[in-house]
Amino acid sequence: MKGSMNKVSQEKHVTLNLPALWKAVPGRSIGSRTYTSNRSYLDGKQIKIADNKTPITAYYQTFTKGKKDFSLFIYSDETDIKKISDFFEKLVKNTKVEDISKALVSASSDGFTYLHTYYKGETK
């Protein structure tokens, strides 16, 4: 979970199960939205499209660390929001405040920072 982070400014496809750090999402601490169509994503090296049989869900949760408000989000095939929330909590615990600050400087609608720990324990 430790290590450098990659800033992403323009990408056509979101990477499945790879969490990212972004600015705080307004109004709520945790939320999700499931896509059953039209949502393309990168699964490994393959581009896939979500459908009814293989939906993907966007999860996001807002945190505060070192007086910095930010959010983590992930597009995942996981359906249990609690597991994602636990995963986020661990990530936040292991992410340095300096890295959060750095990521927030460049955070915008198309500028977020992928973290280096895939959900399900894989490493990018």
């Binding site: 109004g27 709520r28 939320g31 939205r33 039209n38 966007a58 597009y75 609608s109």
Partner: protein, 185 residues
């Protein structure tokens, strides 16, 4: 939250559906109509009170300071009962002035209180020095009208209207002079 679709949030790569866009429009409409506001969401400090409905106090002042100059034929102003208020030319206002007792040196002398808008006297009230005690009974004045659209400066003067002595109001903590401007319509 009073918004019809609260807690909407989006993250990078989110695809906004027509449904969600309509939810946002619905939120905007609720805000425009005022129904999307929480109770007590807008504090008084964020309101222009001159636009509010009846019985709104636009300005108020009072004094309990004891020292007043003795008047004869030259009007004397009471600075602590001066008020300014912005008017829009359509609102009706009520100005209430209350002066406690006064005192005079010659029985049956008459004191006149003048409520002025700028240099114009818009209301007058009189009282008389009581023989024996030298006391002048209290005076209450009420003016009702629609001032022109401008900032109006209201002041209070007193003067000897009849007689030969010196007269003055007497203010104290239990006998304050009070002026209030209220919007009534």
């Amino acid at each position: 939250m009073s918004l019809p679709n609260p807690s909407m949030a989006f993250i990078p790569f989110a695809i906004l559906t027509a449904d969600e866009m309509n939810d946002l429009v619905e939120n905007d409409q609720a805000l425009a109509a005022g129904t999307g506001l929480n109770n007590d969401a807008v504090p008084g400090s964020r309101l222009d009170i001159t636009t509010l409905l009846p019985r709104i106090v636009l300005a108020r002042a009072s004094t309990g300071a004891a020292s007043t100059a003795a008047a004869t034929t030259t009007p004397i102003n009471i600075p602590s009962l001066s008020l300014s208020a912005a008017m829009n030319g359509t609102h009706e206002i009520e100005i209430a002035l209350s002066i406690p007792i006064g005192t005079g040196t010659v029985p049956n002398d008459i004191i006149e209180y003048q409520l002025k808008d700028g240099g114009t006297v818009i209301a007058r009230g009189r009282s008389v020095v009581i023989s024996g005690t030298g006391e002048i009974p209290s005076v209450a004045l009420l003016w009702l009208g629609v001032p022109t659209a401008a900032t109006h400066n209201y002041t209070v003067d007193y003067v000897r209207f009849a007689g030969s002595g010196n007269l003055r109001p007497v203010f104290s903590t239990s006998g304050q002079g009070v002026i209030t401007i209220k919007r009534t319509r």
